[in-house]
Symmetry: C2
Subunit: 312 residues, 2 copies
Amino acid sequence: MSLLERAEKSLAYHFDALVTPQTPPRLAAAMRHAVFSSGARVRPQLCTAVALACRDDAPGLSDAMGSAIELMHCASLVHDDMPAFDNADTRRGQPTVHKAFGEPLALLTGDALIVLAYQVLAHAGAQQPQRLGALIRNLSAGVGVPSGIVAGQAWECEVRADLSEYQRAKTGALFVAATCGGALAAGADPQPWTPLGACLGEAYQVADDIRDVMGHAQALGKPVGQDALHGRPSVAQSLGLAGAVVYFQNLMDQAVDSIPECGARELLSQVVRRESERLVPTSMCEAVGKPYPHLQSVAAPVAAPGAGNAVA
Amino acid sequence: MSLLERAEKSLAYHFDALVTPQTPPRLAAAMRHAVFSSGARVRPQLCTAVALACRDDAPGLSDAMGSAIELMHCASLVHDDMPAFDNADTRRGQPTVHKAFGEPLALLTGDALIVLAYQVLAHAGAQQPQRLGALIRNLSAGVGVPSGIVAGQAWECEVRADLSEYQRAKTGALFVAATCGGALAAGADPQPWTPLGACLGEAYQVADDIRDVMGHAQALGKPVGQDALHGRPSVAQSLGLAGAVVYFQNLMDQAVDSIPECGARELLSQVVRRESERLVPTSMCEAVGKPYPHLQSVAAPVAAPGAGNAVA
């Protein structure tokens, strides 16, 4: 089973177990729309890959951690798309939740998905109660105050905000929670996995800035030019496009270099390289005169060895 | 120390420990505004009183459970007041969060408070890891899908909704989480405490309906007539005012009757009676020709025996 298949299977399993038929039907439909509209699932794949690097002795728990992270990501997208923020009509090529279901249900959908993330962890954590506290703290650090993605979004509401702190919180915190969460779910020390999450998170934000300038709305599945429109800090604007692309490539190289020596180093490198190509394709690098020679062919899905009992 | 003092002390302790100076300043200010604007703290008082009835062998944990419940309540008020729902300008006699800080920060404040509730539990639960899973599940059941307060709010977005199911979820679920949470924090069986939370939760919703019709905006600290304005189901409208008051009184009697035999029965009865007077004052009962003879003088604050080490 590939990492992606494992992530999808876990999300579907937990969603169906917890969003029962007693749920108000339109809320359940809006939550499903938010979670199952073709996300890349990079955070849960990263979480699982790190868990595998740490022996993954509790695959049900590492899958739950990955699902919880992805649910938080989906919740943040639903709220960020609302008129109070981006006022976006489309996301992943689909109508945003507030466009499809109205603002009240979009607000509630985000809230319910945040709670659902914890429900997933508590559900899976019943088998490993001694690990649950650290997983809850790790997930919360990626989302809440002082430095999670909600805090990152809140820096946009401040008169003065430090660009790197803003970006670290806005996107990086949830990537760090993904890598550290994979280690914690496997009962390992999370600390060596922090740089991988931090580099990927920052790279992801830089890529978003680049694509916001260069991208096509249709290919992205969401509107472009939003950063300039909303006056948000942007690396693509401060470094220029070519500078931003080089900055992105350096971050991706740092991400690969940061991976600790372990049996899953090759698997993790593949995840990073494939994500790099997905985020800032070769054609974009070449278009600004900055080809990225490190990238090899990484189109094949990444197989996750020994993950057959993923959602046991 | 009274139950109220214990609830306030715990909230302040956890808020200061977790909303650190690294938090974006306006987000921190909005969260503080949402949490420390003179709430009655009935849910955490109820939680602590039940914990005391169950010997309260881990007062730091029962205080944390009460604080977590109250943070969820505050989060729900922030989001419910927003233009997508009630569009209320005032709450507890103060400007609502979106009026004072703007819609984006109000949305983020609610999100951050939901996460903060779990952070509080994980923080306190480090001392009692074997109880943490049940506390997380209990808190989540009160808030999320299928039957928590978020689901209750979502029933307003359905074409068809059952009135009692709607009310049970909209308010009752968090009261049940408070009573059951008090038992769970003390390592006791939560089941005998479900009816107390359910009766109080329904009574609270009925009182809200009554006050929405009879109340004065100034005394309530929020606008009146909102149910009719928003076309929401209301017991005061379906039973008439006098009928709704009698229904409320019966629920309060049921609440007292449901309290299991225990050393804190008198303390809990006092909490219920005092809450009854606060919600639907004697003068209101008499105004609709339904005096409530069961009520004794309950003005004195309720002392919580042996709670000196509340936030140890």
